[in-house]
Symmetry: C2
Subunit: 165 residues, 2 copies
């Protein structure tokens, strides 16, 4: 099983784009590979097609399952695990939003709550408390928007898009 030149390029491109999104290059490549494959792939397939080690293939495939972007699939009569990507872009987008919100936004909210509660309301901390309050208001709003997006469907998104413009 071998990739065409264009498929190679898609996978490589996705890897390096993923990289400046703060996502592990191999994880992005494995995801790209599974996205353009019409059937689920085994660890061996991924190793061969991406020229990576068994450990790397296994760890990143499982990370993608954990992110909810890939399903582990069983083929009757075959002992191997196969991995297949969810193909619906809206499902993917919602899933990524959910993970990133949990990992990147919620910790900010918690940190700000903690900072605020511990900080004396004196002259020395005036600027800091202003910043904390502003950030808190803002972050909570952004968090709500993403939460809403996670729970909504494509149609809701189009309606909002229209209203915004």
């Amino acid at each position: 099983m071998k990739l065409t030149e264009q498929q190679q390029k898609f996978v490589q491109t996705w890897g390096s784009l993923g990289n400046n999104w703060g996502i592990n290059k191999t994880m992005a490549q494995v995801h790209a590979l599974l996205l353009i494959s019409d059937k689920a792939l085994s660890t061996e397939d991924m190793m061969e097609m991406l020229q990576i080690s068994r450990g790397n293939a296994n760890m990143n495939a499982r990370a993608l399952v954990e992110w909810g972007l890939v399903n582990k699939e069983m083929v009757p009569g075959d002992r191997r695990d196969f991995y297949g990507a969810k193909k619906d872009i809206w499902v993917i987008a919602r899933q990524i939003t959910k993970m990133r919100r949990q990992r990147e936004i919620e910790p900010i909210i918690s940190a700000l709550v903690e900072l605020k509660s511990e900080t004396p309301n004196d002259q020395q901390h005036k600027e800091m408390l202003k910043r904390v309050d502003d950030m808190q208001d803002f972050t909570i709003k952004i968090n709500k928007i993403f939460e809403k997006f996670e729970k909504s469907d494509e149609n809701w998104f189009y309606k909002v898009l229209l209203k915004m413009m």
Copy 2:
């Protein structure tokens, strides 16, 4: 010039949060420091308060200027450069959105256009072309939303927020 325990904590917290946002830790710390300082700071100040080297302080302060989050300020009768953060959370948010959109979304759009134009419309590339099309549609929409946000004010944002919910 020395930070209180709480100010230290704010700066440290922002550094590590910045880190899992894919932002250089020191850059996030310098930004945090300038955000809670009521006056602009010199390189020397930043070095002392954050315990970092001159090169590091200088490079990250300038990176923040390049991101449009910090201004270089001159004090009459003083030869040193001072750095002061923009304090308005909406200005900050719009500026970050702008930079990240340019660096993270626009390259995706270009890459997809290029991939699409080069890829033969045959059986072998059927799945890939479907994914490219879906991603293109989606990415263009997201890009527009962010562009709109960059150009809008706080009130627009509140109105949209209401309509969304």
